[in-house]
């Protein structure tokens, strides 16, 4: 039975100029990188552009990848930067302050919180209400599966700040969804007292 080549083998071969290995590597990781771009950037076309830029950055910088970090972490960092660049390039920056309630818009009207979850409410619309400083750590944690230290390394911020931003980001998302359901479950979820724990 033929086994799939490990990432490390593909990376080494690609670094040595093996285009077939590079193509397999890009094909293997495209979907997860594109998913992160989509969650960070929002619109599908923008996510595709960001993902393409991320892939190009990966191949142009693959010679610098030394294996000290996981390829997953390293490539998420590149994808995250590409997504943020895309956001800024398109002039679609999110609200400057997470406390600015005027920036939160109505998303939909669904019976209650559980219904909202089970109905797969457009979490993307809710995510886009969050400033990127909160959105990106939540996406890297919940979609990318990175641990706090990896996210800290990816975003170049302290792990304590990562923990705080993830908590506040999830908290606000829960409130947004709760407000849609009208079940009165939203609460002051730490934004008032919230400060980054550096």
């Amino acid at each position: 039975m033929q086994t799939l080549a490990e990432d490390d083998d593909l990376i080494r071969a690609a670094q040595d100029g093996d285009m077939a290995s590079l193509e397999i590597l890009l094909d293997r990781h495209h979907d997860r990188l594109r998913a992160v771009c989509a969650r960070v950037v929002g619109r599908g076309a923008d996510a595709d552009d960001a993902c393409q830029q991320a892939l190009i950055s990966i191949v142009k910088n693959l010679d610098k990848f030394d294996g000290r970090a996981r390829f997953t972490t390293w490539s998420y960092r590149i994808a995250t930067n590409a997504a943020i660049d895309e956001l800024r390039r398109r002039g679609r920056r999110m609200a400057d302050s997470i406390d600015d309630e005027d920036n939160y818009t109505q998303l939909a009207s669904i019976g209650n919180f559980d219904d909202a979850v089970s109905a797969q409410i457009d979490v993307q619309a809710a995510l886009e209400q969050l400033p990127e400083e909160f959105r990106v750590p939540v996406v890297l944690r919940d979609l990318g599966g990175l641990d706090y230290d990896e996210i800290a390394e990816t975003l170049n911020i302290p792990p304590g700040t990562v923990r705080s931003r993830i908590a506040r980001g999830r908290s606000k998302l829960a409130d947004l969804i709760g407000s849609l359901s009208g079940d009165g479950n939203q609460r002051d979820s730490g934004f008032v007292q919230g400060t980054d724990h550096d």
Binding site: R12, A13, A14, Q15, D16, G17, D18, M19, L22, L26, D27, H30, D31, R34, A35, A38, R39, G44, A47, D48, D49, C51, Q52, L55, I56, V59, K60, L62, D63, D66, G67, F113, D114, V117, Q120, I121, V123, L127, R141, D142, L143, G145, Y148, R163, S164, I166, A167, R168, R170, S171, L173, A174, I177, G178, G184, N185, R187, S189, Q193, G194
Partner: protein, 298 residues
């Protein structure tokens, strides 16, 4: 509902990072448990993969990245294309100077040099013969014998993770090639040249096999990609899918006009997908033409 715990504490529970005592206390509180479930649900929602890219867009993104890998690197910067060229060069060198070829060349050279000595001295001057043999052995060793060549190649292979390593390995190979230039006069030259031609042919075929379409979001984006070295002349013309969309007469006319060559690409021109011919001209300029009707684009 008001949880006695902060969302930061509950978020830590979601991530499995809270201590067991906190988890027990949260579970004992209905309000905290309810809030915990909300945060957990949010986490799961965010973790749900969004709608994927279309197959076409996915393929074009990967193709664009591969095209960038093919680009010639800026001065002083390593790239996959450079590394690939080195790999081809290494293979060519090791194929050309394989131990078998080197052994055959050495044997022929040895016979060619020893024979005149044997004839002129008629076997009477053994000292001269011994000296000559010693010089030949030294010469072969200095000329980058098979073992030395392999060492250089192995060294390159071992430095996979660093292009700097590859650079030094390539330098070693170059040195080996120079040293082996002494072998050029050997009678096996012709055979070696044939080997080199075969290798060149293989490399060209390989490049053709990798030909693919390049996608850009706009004519300007495409020209920028060319500017950055992302598209090279004659890199994509063998893609059968693209060839099928090209008007042959258009290609012939543009081929006559363009030097050093053409490339093909697909662009999104104001929302319309369009296959274009890119001309590379002697003065370094590039022009885009519609591949179907040859009209200028952009």
């Amino acid at each position: 509902m008001t949880s006695p715990f902060s969302d930061e504490q509950l978020s830590a529970v979601v991530d499995g990072l809270a201590d067991p005592e906190l988890v027990q206390r949260v579970q004992a509180s209905p309000d905290a448990s309810a809030r915990l479930e909300q945060l957990r649900a949010v986490s799961e929602l965010v973790g749900t993969s969004p709608a994927p890219a279309t197959a076409e867009r996915r393929a074009s993104s990967i193709a664009a990245a591969l095209a960038a890998a093919e680009a010639v690197a800026p001065e002083g910067v390593s790239s996959l294309a450079v590394a690939r060229e080195k790999a081809v060069e290494r293979k060519r060198f090791t194929d050309r100077f394989s131990p078998q070829v080197m052994a055959a060349a050495a044997a022929i050279l040895l016979v060619a040099l020893i024979t005149p000595f044997l004839i002129s001295n008629s076997g009477s001057d053994t000292t001269a013969s011994d000296t000559a043999t010693g010089e030949i052995s030294t010469s072969l060793s200095d000329a980058g014998g098979a073992d030395g060549s392999d060492d250089a190649t192995d060294s390159a292979d071992d430095s996979d993770r660093s292009f700097d390593g590859d650079d030094s390995a390539a330098d070693s190979i170059d040195s080996g090639s120079d040293a082996s230039a002494a072998m050029e006069a050997a009678p096996t030259d012709e055979a070696m040249e044939e080997d080199a031609v075969e290798n060149d042919s293989t490399a060209d075929t390989s490049a053709d096999d990798e030909a693919r379409i390049f996608f850009s979001n706009s004519p300007l984006g495409l020209l920028a990609a060319i500017e950055q070295g992302g598209i090279l002349p004659n890199l994509f013309v063998s893609d059968p899918e693209i060839q099928s969309t090209v008007n042959p007469e258009c290609l012939v006319d543009l081929t006559d006009a363009a030097e050093p060559g053409l490339a093909l690409a697909e662009i999104d021109n104001d929302g319309v997908r369009q296959v274009v011919v890119i001309t590379f001209e002697e003065d370094g300029t590039n022009t885009l033409f519609d591949a179907g009707d040859c009209s200028p684009v952009g």
